[in-house]
């Protein structure tokens, strides 16, 4: 790495220096693909005797059908519950009870979904039976054994997350214990048992209440997205609507699991104090024999072109918030790079256009941000979000944002603005490498959504070629009233 750093210092011209450093990452990532399709990305860093290990499955909430909404996320929780050997005292004895639980829970759901026509006595009886069975099953459970083993071995940051695009399992582990990670994760990939399913489903309902129902901003976000997409599952909440969660079953989760959570849909990044050749051997030994599953089929539905502005109001016990979203293509479409430039022009830092105009000059908002969301595998939205400052209203802020967007259509980006963006990207390229976890995140994310982690090294070169005309053209094409979605939070009447 020293040579790379020196090469940077030696070069005076920024763009050249940039290329030099990008090659640093290019040289440091080692790739290996297993016969079963699992992709392994490694970066050797000996800063500390630690390793970040991330497993990304290329299946997320966009891959759910309408009766599966929330499944990828619930499954993420369920995969913490153990395997046929971990998390259980005796799987052979446990399994028949788990099957009875499933049958009883399904009967209960079938009755409950009749709503007014449901038989309360039957519901009561089944509920009691389910509780008794769950109590019985508890005898066989070794609580949180994955977490227990990882923790006592010094694992740190053990977690998982689900997005529209994928599901990721991550841990940081002392470098001498990488084999423990391989043993646990290969077992999880092949032998997961979804025990304690219906209790965990209740946990997810609490998660939903905590992040969306009882959190006005979360509710606005969820509603805004749902309204922005008429057809594409990008609009459906990753956590699922409450009634979706209430009707998810272990059987559905198992089907989803067995189809997709397989090595051919997995990308693994191991970053830190490793020997890549030994790591390949280790991964081959533990994961090499796992059978591939079904490739995740592309989402067939296409979002129809929006035929007019959509406005979403959420009334809540909170002060106003505003978000404005425009449909746009996703990476690696050329226009997506232009949106990255627009994003930074508009809101990156105190010198950005919207910050200067809305925060510093007109004092309409306390903060303004922009980003692409909610997922990246399919066309998404360019979103601008702002927090109005009283007594200024959502309407005033909205108009001020539109004025700046109009300016983008007519006033060319300056050379200095583009150079600043390139400088910022150069800094971020280095910064992302400062932590094992951050780098593992970016490698798995871009390998999954862009098809190659090399997106990370090519990105700045692509941005460097964007012209002021590109920015004006894209602004004119996408920032139209017809393509616009506006969401805002209105304080409930009678609130303070």
């Amino acid at each position: 790495m020293k040579s790379v750093a020196r090469c940077l210092v030696a070069l005076a011209i920024l763009v050249n220096a940039a290329t030099c450093f990008a090659q640093g990452l290019a040289e440091r990532v080692q790739e290996h693909t297993l016969k079963n399709g699992m992709k392994l990305l490694m970066v050797e860093r000996h800063n500390s005797p630690t390793v970040a290990a991330w497993i990304r499955f290329k299946v997320g909430s966009v891959d759910e059908r309408s009766d599966e909404r929330g499944l990828a996320h619930l499954l993420e929780h369920m995969l913490f519950k153990g395997t046929k050997t971990l998390g259980t005292r005796d799987y052979a004895a446990e399994k028949p009870i788990l099957d009875k639980i499933e049958a009883t829970a399904q009967q209960l759901m079938a009755e409950k979904v009749k709503r007014e026509q449901a038989d309360p006595k039957k519901i009561e009886k089944l509920t009691a039976e389910l509780a008794a069975l769950e109590k019985e099953a508890e005898k066989y459970v070794v609580k949180e054994e994955f977490a227990d083993i990882y923790s006592r071995n010094g694992g740190s940051g053990y977690n998982a997350f689900t997005s529209k695009d994928g599901t990721t399992y991550l841990i940081n582990i002392p470098a001498n214990k990488l084999e423990l990670w391989a043993a646990i994760e290969s077992d999880r990939m092949q032998n997961a048992v979804l025990r304690e399913f219906y209790t965990e489903r209740s946990v997810v309902m609490e998660e939903r209440r905590r992040s969306y129902d009882a959190e006005p901003e979360g509710k606005l976000w969820e509603t805004f997205l749902a309204d922005a997409f008429n057809a594409h599952p990008n609009g459906q909440p990753t956590i699922g609507w409450m009634s979706d969660i209430e009707n998810l079953t272990r059987t559905k989760a198992e089907n989803f699991l067995h189809k997709y959570y397989a090595p051919n849909n997995a990308i693994v990044a191991i970053v830190g104090d490793i020997d890549p050749q030994k790591t390949i051997a280790l991964v081959e030994r533990y994961f090499g024999a796992i059978k591939p599953g079904t490739p995740v089929p592309p989402v067939a539905v296409t979002e129809p072109e929006q035929s007019g502005e959509k406005r979403t109001e959420v009334i809540g016990d909170a002060e106003p918030e505003l978000m404005i979203g425009y449909h746009k293509p996703t990476l690696p479409a050329p226009d997506d790079y232009v949106f990255d430039v627009i994003d930074m022009l508009l809101t990156n830092g105190r010198t950005s256009r919207l910050y200067k105009k809305l925060v510093l000059e007109q004092k309409l908002v306390t903060s303004v941000s922009s980003f692409g969301a909610p997922g990246s595998r399919y066309p998404n939205l360019f979103i601008i979000s702002a927090t109005p400052r009283a007594p200024h209203t959502v309407a005033e802020v909205e108009q001020a944002i539109y004025q700046e967007l109009e300016r983008l259509k007519t006033e060319p980006m300056t050379h200095e603005e583009l150079q600043q963006i390139l400088n910022q990207l150069e800094f971020e390229e280095s910064r992302q490498m400062a932590s094992n976890g951050g780098l593992a995140r970016n490698l798995t994310e871009y390998e999954a959504i862009a098809g190659t982690w090399r997106y990370l090294i090519e990105h700045r070169q692509r941005v460097a070629k964007i012209t002021p005309e590109d920015v004006m053209r894209v602004a004119k094409q996408y920032f139209t009233r017809q393509n616009r979605n506006v969401g805002y939070l209105t304080k409930a009447e009678g609130g303070q």
Binding site: V9, N47, S163, T199, R209, E215, R350, S367, P374, Q496
Partner: protein
Amino acid sequence: MSSISNRLFSKSTLVRLATFAFLLAVGIPEANAFRSSAIAEAKVDAVRGPQAAAPADPRTMTFPQLKFQIPKTERVQLKNGMIVYLLQDRELPIVNLTSYLNVGSIYEPDAKVGLASLTGATLRSGGTLKTPPEKLDRELEFMASSIESGMNADNANVSFSTLSRNLDRTLTLFAEVVREPAFDPARFELAKSHAIEGIRRQNDDPKGVAGRELTRAIYAGHPLGRIPTVATVNAITRDDLIAFHKRYFYPANMILAVSGDFDRTDLLRKLEAIFGDWPNQSAPFPVVPKPNEEMTPAVLHVQKEVNQSVIRMGHIGIDKNNPDLYAIKVMDYILGGGFTSRLTQEIRSNQGLAYNVDAYFDPGRRFKGPFIAETETKVESTARTIKLLESLITGMTQAEVSEAELQLAKNAIINSFIFAFEKSSAVVAQQARLEFYGYPKGYLDNYRDNIARVTRADVLRVAKQYLRPDAMKLVVVGDEKKFDQPLSVFGKVQEIKLNNSK
């Protein structure tokens, strides 16, 4: 809950990235680095046998010894008394600097609560005598450098990060910000207006309301229990900021921590050059009384029409010099730390009553910090969950923990110690904080051994001594019409009326 957006690189933290949940995590990432700061060692790991060819059993695997030494940082004192910690790391062409000053909101007057926070914000945003704010913003952002400042209860923090080729200029601007901030009147008014908007919005998130009200209840009558109001913020003038800065910003009151791609000799020479003629001050620090240590129970309710109640409970706890710190860390881990804790296993995993539940002592650095237990549950199980939480806390005081629990906690703390040293910027900042807060010599070196010595009897003893389930302040934000039982079952209920305009 993570709030990571799907963008290539994270942008500067200047703008608040809202709580949009792009990602749903299975657990809530540990937030407080100091909480889990500690310490672990290789010698606890068993020595592994010959490399097995067959896949190993995670329950019984053994491992080779881990080679680890706490990274050595260098400590230098400048002629003016300023202390500098250095850790060179040339992997990336970046330099990070952070600094701590002994100042904070504990020193602001009652009538001007918010002064420290405004001073911290405007120190950087208000530009310097040589470089007006717009120029400072422009110059820094063009270089992709950032300087940020802020003030907390008991410290000010001014930091920068920069590409190493821009180190000289960024350092010069940093010195201007620290030594001669201009507190530009327009930027000051802007910061004030944002503070007032923040007050208007302080009741929007039920979790924020509950946390704030618990702190106010535990630290009633003490500077740590104050919150800014529109009146106290309006009372603050630009001259107050200038005076606050003048009184507390001087070299002997400041510790720097620098890491990354720099040349040691060159950097020290520059630090002497830019800070060498900065005079020290001698005004004595105001005496801040200790918080009231008498613990009295209370039940506080805030009405919100939501489908989930936020539950917070706690009381005053310990400070960092407490000799029982290590036993308390182990107890914390068993009661409320992570997926394996008693609280998570019972309330979340067994009963499905909550997504988030934890409890911990926050060891105070200057004053005793709080013990806090927290969770959120659907309104219909509010009382049931409070009772469970209380009984699990009480349980710690009634019987020894199991040997398995003790070993898990100790191994987890000891073996994850290395993660406090992953980044050179974190290593050097940690050293600076240890000196800043006056931690005993050898604190880090002895940490693992101190944890390793904790026994089951110690855990029971500290639980009895420091946990006071009978004297907790309980705060519930939720819809009382839908509670399974009225909160009066826990004691006399005091209603807190929310007000955004005070």
